[in-house]
Symmetry: C2
Subunit: 191 residues, 2 copies
Amino acid sequence: MEDFSLLYSYFEKIGNRELTDTEKEEIVSVFRKETFNKKQRIFNAGDENTRHYYIEKGLLRMYIIDQSGKEFNLLFGKERQWLGDLSTPATTSYYLEAVEKTTVFSISESAFASIMSKYTELSANIRRSYIFLQKRFVAILSKTAEENYEELLNNDPDLVQRLPQYHISSYLGVTPVFLSKIIAKRARKKD
Amino acid sequence: MEDFSLLYSYFEKIGNRELTDTEKEEIVSVFRKETFNKKQRIFNAGDENTRHYYIEKGLLRMYIIDQSGKEFNLLFGKERQWLGDLSTPATTSYYLEAVEKTTVFSISESAFASIMSKYTELSANIRRSYIFLQKRFVAILSKTAEENYEELLNNDPDLVQRLPQYHISSYLGVTPVFLSKIIAKRARKKD
DNA sequence: GTGTTTTATTAAACTAGTTTATTTTTTTCG
DNA sequence: CGAAAAAAATAAACTAGTTTAATAAAACAC
């Protein structure tokens, strides 16, 4: 029998109460537990009706590939975070891929919508995602890549540990070459 | 007596039904009709508990001022659009200002939250805002300022008409000088 | 372990976009 | 209308970040 305990405790937390057995059964019936290997693709640009993912363990990245074939990481998701394309069920423009071996609980859009009416905290979560993206947008627009790297280091040091450098550079909107320069410069400063 | 008809028809549209008299009264009781003159500030960075605005007529911009004092326009809102800082009631980092003389229906966060439970379309609206911002983010990151200007011209020609050029440049993340160059270049190309 | 592939560094020439300053055009308003 | 203020254009010198290419270091696989 698969272990859904992390998912239960998530809903208990946002519902601010214990779940009944019936509720647990409902959760098991609408979520699918899945595992993805490192570099395994979860969905591709062009796919329709992509699912929502609540991450149990591991690390995912959502990205685009632009006209010139260059990748841009939009978002990373790790333990106890949601990730997915909110424009589903419409055709997605994004790719979702595992950076590490990752296990998730996935749910369809329709089940997600219905569960959202029960746990209103879930829509508050979408709102928080919006706020997060807005901050990130402002930061990329108004700050230098060095400042943004610095900030990422402060806010999410373990992400910087776990991700190869070229994924971070693409998240910051610069080339790996330039990020490498920034890091070299910072190292020089330090002493 | 103030005219709330645009607001009624908005709720009738998203609720997909006619409003009862009681519902109309409720709307009048929670919304406040306000008018702002050109360049009038609606809220400032640092303000708490900012309101949400549904625009009847006119044009607003939401922007930040960065460390160096430079403005960045995040969003414009015009007729029949919502605008506001979703992180309310927390302290806002944004400024909201009228670009033209503008009339709005404004609502507090608490009333907004309660009305949201009645008209679930409103949370779908937040989700759409997220999707819009995500697209904009990708565009700014992965395309040149010229491509982004081109796209704005196609998607929102009347915005380009109604806004001074320096507001558009700040929306595209470039200086007014550079946008002016882009426009000159485009004009040269055309013939 | 050592050979292969992946990731990171460095250098040099380049470009998209900035800055500052001056001039021209357009808008505002008494 | 005419004067003053606001917005846009142009030019020139500059810089943050890119590109390409070559080298070095780490991680992976058998």
